[in-house]
């Protein structure tokens, strides 16, 4: 069970949050201009890295805010928590 530090409410248990999967995948501004392959890429294709993962979480049982988390998918270390719209922090692999 993770201890996740909500950027707004502070550290809370994983049970208060819901997972939002890979982050920084912006919805295309004009989906109609995309090919089927490009749209499928946006919809389904994921990095799924073994290592640092930049992902979204929602403080569902708290302030209901979405935010980003940089988490290692092997050690589960949480290196950074940052707000929507902020750029991902650089982390050496």
């Amino acid at each position: 069970m993770f201890l996740i530090s909500c950027p707004f409410c502070g550290p809370r248990e994983e049970s208060e949050f819901s997972y939002g999967h890979e982050g920084h995948i912006a919805r295309p501004a004009d989906p109609d201009s995309l090919s089927d392959a490009e749209w499928a890429d946006y919809l389904f294709m994921r990095k799924n890295p073994k290592g640092w993962h930049y992902e979204r979480w929602n403080h569902a049982r708290g302030c209901r805010r979405w935010f980003n988390v940089a988490r290692h998918t092997v050690t589960h270390e949480i290196r950074a928590v940052y707000k929507m719209g902020d750029p991902p922090p650089a982390i050496e692999p």
Binding site: F8, C9, G10, R12, S15, E16, C63
Partner: protein
């Protein structure tokens, strides 16, 4: 303000007959935990920009409350309190019956700003928990750290309790002065719980409290 026939009102725990079950003051003082419902409370959900001083000022004009911007804190003036729910969300609570004038007043005062005032007085009831084992009881259901060093009077939090979601508020110490000393040994908490979860949570609390001496109080 419109006339409402209060006699028609019915709290989500009314069927539990809690008033009739209420223990004597003496028994309540002896109890490890006391539980009671405070059924009809005015609750206004307020959304707006905490960075907009005009917004804060307008709210203060109507309510007298300086909206708390520090996370998980509560501002209280007389019988009104503002609970911090998020960076741009508060719950203004007060005695039942204030819904109309508060929503009206706020909407008027905030005219022209980006805000939302929503009366949710009917959405949740309040369960008050007090006594020396109040923290132990809550710890069975919530992962919040309620240690006096961490939580304490005048703080609030949204979190889970058992399998429900709640807003928790620790009241200021009563009678024992503002030092909060009393709140350490005899803390009083209020749980705001959605109507449809209230019966589940009440029975859960009574069961979880069974290993302490538990007394029901009349609100």
């Amino acid at each position: 303000m419109t006339m409402i026939d209060f006699s028609l009102r019915r709290s989500p725990l009314a069927h539990r007959g809690l008033i009739a079950r209420a223990a004597s003051d003496a028994a309540a003082r002896e109890a490890g935990v006391t539980l009671g419902e405070q059924p009809h409370r005015c609750q206004i959900n307020l959304r707006g920009d905490a960075g907009d001083s005009g917004f804060l000022a307008a709210v203060e004009d109507v309510t007298g409350l300086r909206l708390p911007v520090e996370p998980n804190t509560v501002a209280t003036v007389e019988d009104l309190s503002a609970l911090w729910l998020g960076p741009d969300e508060w719950l203004i609570v007060g005695p039942g019956g204030r819904e109309g004038d508060l929503t009206g007043g706020l909407r008027g005062a905030l005219e022209g700003r980006h805000f939302a005032v929503t009366d949710v007085s009917e959405a949740r009831t309040v369960i008050a928990i007090s006594g020396p084992h109040a923290r132990d009881l809550l710890a069975k259901g919530t992962s919040l750290d309620l240690h006096p060093r961490v939580f304490g009077p005048g703080r609030c939090a949204q979190s889970g309790i058992a399998k429900a979601t709640m807003i928790l508020h620790q009241l200021d110490a009563n009678g024992d002065g503002a030092d909060g000393a009393g709140a350490d040994e005899q803390p009083t908490f209020e749980i705001y719980i959605a109507n449809s979860f209230a019966d589940y949570l009440w029975t859960w609390l009574e069961r979880a409290a069974a290993e302490y001496r538990v007394a029901v109080t009349a609100g």
